[in-house]
Point group: C2
């Protein structure tokens, strides 16, 4: 069975619970597009009616009430990087991780720097807690977001510069899981006017990614729920 036959067979059975502006969901959309996998998109509006992710129906799918969740062949995967690793193992072509353990570690290091040390700190639930429980006003919340994004992205820029793996993308000349994470995080950073002057390499990688249809089609503005 070829990969493309396999991909066609399973298409109707792939469901992504997504929100157009969620950068974690955006990562998975990019990965699905890079793999050429069709999927059914179920929007979960994070802000409407106190947050659809808090409803019991969605909590039954994702107990933490976070997006994305991904369903395939009857099982559910939460956590964007677990989903992307799963896709890479089931649909290896094109690969989103290189072949050697050391190179794979570099890609994962970049992806995890974003997925652990930048994004969760600026998640809507954190900002809501800051506002409600710590009376942080909008200016303070903006400062919070900009601080953690800038510190994290400048750290990533330094790591990539130090790794010495040149190329159009985070690691070489093919997009990897790291690029799936970088592009949504830079979208977020620009949305909140983070100073990116210290991150020229990241901006160049972002531009290279934006030229690819897989990244373009995953963009928040192109999602069915974007108008809501």
């Amino acid at each position: 069975m070829t990969a493309s036959t396999d991909q066609k067979i399973a298409a109707a059975d792939r469901t992504l619970y997504t929100y157009f502006r969620s950068s974690a969901a955006y990562r998975v959309r990019i990965a699905l597009n890079l793999k050429g996998l069709d999927y059914r998109s179920v929007p979960v509006h994070l802000l409407r009616d106190g947050g659809e992710q808090r409803r019991p129906e969605y909590r039954a799918i994702n107990p933490l009430g976070l997006v994305p969740s991904y369903q395939e062949n009857g099982h559910t995967i939460r956590q964007s990087l677990a989903i992307i690793e799963y896709l890479d193992e089931c649909y290896p072509d094109p690969p989103l991780l290189p072949r050697t353990p050391a190179a794979r570690a570099e890609v994962r290091q970049s992806a995890l720097t974003i997925a652990c040390d930048i994004h969760p700190i600026n998640n809507p639930r954190i900002l809501k807690f800051l506002e409600r429980e710590l009376q942080a006003d909008e200016a303070m919340r903006l400062r919070w977001m900009r601080h953690w994004m800038q510190v994290g992205l400048e750290g990533l820029q330094a790591m990539l510069a130090g790794a010495g793996t040149a190329g159009r993308f985070c690691h070489g000349d093919q997009p990897t899981m790291a690029d799936c994470c970088l592009v949504p995080q830079l979208f977020n950073a620009r949305r909140f006017e983070v100073d990116l002057t210290g991150c020229p390499r990241l901006q160049a990688i972002d531009a290279a990614c934006q030229a690819l249809p897989a990244f373009q089609r995953a963009h928040p503005s192109r999602q069915p729920d974007a108008a809501n």
Copy 2:
């Protein structure tokens, strides 16, 4: 070359930059012990002198100034889960991830729930920012930590219960990467007196892990820098 010969050869070349109470470093110590790998331990004191992790010497190793960092054969890996995946790829016996993509996704989902959605929010740098920039007093910082740990751990408990993969550990009867993350997070939760009554399954798994020497030797109290 057998795995054990391989492990002996490289022992002197393995360095872990660690802090006894860092739960991210604790994860990697458990993984190294489970694999039976000797390593050189370099302590980085997160609190002394404003934080040794902020020094230029350490920033050259880890630009974000976070622990752990791991060095082997001349390359450096940051991010605990990238290190554990690397160890699992280089030293496959005993495995820290199961064989099928769906089972691997479940393990990664548990590990990432802790590594993304619980731990980074309670990192010392976050607590320092809350104190200095938002004037959050000690009671509020404790509330913050307890809230995110409890919410996250109860979510993990629900996911494990829903997965229906019974066993002594998070996923079956062998410890995996998920257990490497769970035990340090529960150590942290107990330290800050988080209410764990909603997490009986997690507590039972923790007890099973604590019976194993690999977990015992990784405990913060058994580290060379614990007395500092």
